[in-house]
């Protein structure tokens, strides 16, 4: 186990270097002069401005020199300055991280709770109409374009019925809670501000449901399949033969083992959530990393695009590592090699 961990950790720097290199190559793909997006077309004729910008962004040196400069900056945690916000990309990312995490955790919670519930229901009522409906609902979750579902839900629950708030993390014009964790639901509670807590929670419901629906699809399908596998095991037959109630057989015996494989897809879920969050945030004007990435790539703000992409890659690598380790810890039968 320890050897496996060490080996995985030893490969990480190589992968991280690869990730950074890929992003560097991507950033040099552009056939357009990056200067245009930095200083604007009108300033291009002004040699002083052009020279200053070139020196500032390292554009006056050769590609290999630029590469080393970029790597050096990266190692110092310097992701450059965003063209549009004029702030360091790292602090932009840091400011927006909590909003995305709050949304993804809420979505993960909804997705896992409903996904496991639906999966258990479908497995127990296998091949009945309930099973078919549950499976269709799950498949719908992974086929829906999240950005479209968000739009439609906003229209129904906000514009038509008026029972849920519109886009954003809080009502317009209301101040943010004092920054402690950056999670509005937690911060408002820590400040004892109950009305702000309910507002933040209400604002979370729609985007987190849109995002969580896809997770429901993935989780419920997996839980159903692995629960059916467990049902054919002898220990389940023994438990049933002993006259245990079906609920006890499922919940305390079969489900525990059936949930193990779910851990293996945490990494996959994370990728799914990031993908979904990018567009869900855009629809719900959620000030997180997803909408930052969308705005940056729309405005060809390359330092910001690069920063978000690197962060996404690194986070993805780490989640996969954690997933594998968790799985090994949870199931002693797994020998990692």
């Amino acid at each position: 186990m320890r050897r496996y961990l060490l080996r995985r950790l030893a490969v990480m720097p190589v992968l991280l270097l690869g990730v950074a290199t890929v992003v560097f190559i991507v950033s040099r793909l552009t056939p357009a002069d990056p200067l245009v997006s930095i200083i604007g077309e009108r300033q291009l004729t002004n040699p002083e401005v052009v020279a200053a910008a070139k020196a500032r962004w390292g554009l006056d040196s050769s590609i290999p020199v630029q590469y080393f400069k970029y790597m050096k900056n990266l190692l110092h945690g310097d992701l450059g300055t965003s063209f549009t916000t004029r702030r360091s990309v790292l602090s932009d990312l840091w400011d927006r991280l909590p909003a995305t995490l709050e949304l993804t955790f809420a979505a993960l919670f909804i997705g896992v709770v409903f996904g496991v519930g639906l999966g258990v229901l479908a497995a127990r009522k296998r091949n009945t109409i309930i099973d078919h409906i549950a499976r269709f609902f799950a498949l719908l979750g992974s086929s829906l374009p999240a950005f479209w579902a968000g739009l439609i839900l906003l229209y129904v629950f906000y514009a038509r019925l008026g029972i849920l708030p519109g886009p954003g993390r809080l009502d317009p014009r209301s101040a943010e809670p004092g920054h402690i964790t950056g999670f509005f639901t937690i911060d408002s509670l820590l400040h004892g501000d109950w009305s702000m807590f309910t507002a933040a929670l209400k604002h979370l419901i729609l985007p987190a449901s849109v995002l969580g629906w896809g997770v429901v699809g993935i989780v419920s399908r997996l839980v159903r399949a692995s629960l059916l596998d467990e049902f054919s095991m002898e220990y389940v037959r023994v438990a049933r033969a002993m006259g245990l109630r079906e609920r006890t057989v499922v919940n305390t015996h079969a489900l525990r083992n059936a949930l193990l494989p779910t851990i293996t897809i945490v990494g996959f879920l994370f990728a799914f959530l990031i993908t979904g969050a990018v567009l869900t945030e855009k629809i719900f004007s959620w000030p997180g990393l997803g909408s930052y990435a969308v705005d940056a790539s729309r405005k060809l703000d390359f330092p910001a695009v690069i920063g978000v992409t690197i962060l996404g890659g690194v986070a993805f690598l780490l989640t996969n590592l954690i997933t594998d380790v968790l799985y090994a810890l949870a199931d002693p039968r797994i020998r990692l090699s």
């Binding site: 552009t30 357009a32 719908l140 479209w148 990018v278 969308v294 993805f316």
Partner: protein, 289 residues
């Protein structure tokens, strides 16, 4: 298909033939019908649609009515016609992306699995690194780098998508390489290329085929997502994602976004139905993306 039955050992042919249609039942039939209808619509639409997708045909922002089934948009264009027309962008784009990704992935996976050694190591590290990114982020970054537009979005999607197939095929090739009939082919002095092409690849492609069917819907979604952001097809082109953007700016005219959204949903759902059935029938592991 003929090439496959020629190269497979004769005794397996009837099994393969039976298998080929065994997956076709229940939801899979619905899926196949829906896909066929969409393909027919995409091919024949200009012959029978009464409206031009790019021309104003009525008053602006009209709700659904008998003459305009899904109403009109902000420029007075027929939303229903445009939603159907979207298939003429999304389906060919997704097909080109999937086929290109499968071809690249097959070549890389076959080379890596067959030759092993440093070639395998180098190719597979490239795969690992590419797959280390959430696909949408990398696709966005590449498209932004190359410049927005549907062609560049396609290039980006191929670059993001091929590693899945390379990884799948490599694993399969490594497994098949050790079979006895391959060993006997070596023994009778067959060349490396012949063995790879005629004895290994035909026995290895099933997971790639099944997964690429399942991925088709996902690629349709990705095209729409990139266009929605403004990196893929641009207005006024009747592309589903771009149409939903227009729907988002005319938020209270729900029909403008509803029609293309339902179109995407139908296509993706149909491919998921078919992909699910194929996977169950061929007992193929789902790729993790």
């Amino acid at each position: 298909m003929t090439a496959i039955s020629l190269t497979q050992p004769q005794i397996e042919v009837p099994v393969a033939r039976r298998r080929r249609l065994r997956w076709l039942h229940g939801p899979a039939i619905v899926g196949v019908v829906v896909i066929t209808l969409w393909v027919l619509v995409a091919l024949t639409l200009p012959l029978w649609t009464p409206f031009d997708p790019l021309e104003a045909v009525g008053k602006r922002l009209q709700g659904p009515s008998a003459s305009h089934w899904m109403g009109t948009d902000a420029l007075g264009r027929d939303v229903f016609t445009r939603a159907l027309w979207g298939a003429r962008t999304s389906l060919p784009v997704a097909a080109v992306v999937i086929v290109s990704a499968v071809v690249i992935g097959t070549i890389v996976g076959a080379l890596a699995g067959f030759f092993g050694g440093w070639l395998d190591a180098a190719l597979m590290r490239t795969v690992d690194i590419t797959m280390a990114f959430p696909p949408i982020l990398l696709a966005m970054a590449i498209t932004a780098g190359l410049g927005p537009g549907i062609r560049n979005a396609m290039i980006a999607m191929v670059l993001v998508w091929w590693p899945i197939y390379a990884r799948l095929l490599r694993a399969q090739v490594i497994a098949v390489r050790q079979r006895e009939y391959v060993e006997s082919a070596w023994a009778i002095g067959a060349s490396r290329w012949l063995i790879l092409r005629r004895y290994i690849l035909p026995m290895s492609y099933t997971p790639v085929l099944v997964n690429s069917t399942m991925d088709f819907g996902q690629v349709v979604l990705l095209v729409a997502q990139l266009s929605f952001i403004g990196l893929g097809a641009r207005p006024p082109s009747p592309e589903w994602g771009a149409m939903i953007t227009e729907g988002a700016t005319n938020f209270y005219q729900w029909w403008i976004a509803a029609a293309p959204g339902v179109a995407i949903l139908l296509v993706v759902l149909a491919f998921n139905f078919v992909g699910d059935a194929l996977r169950d029938s061929f007992d193929v592991k789902e790729s993790t993306r």
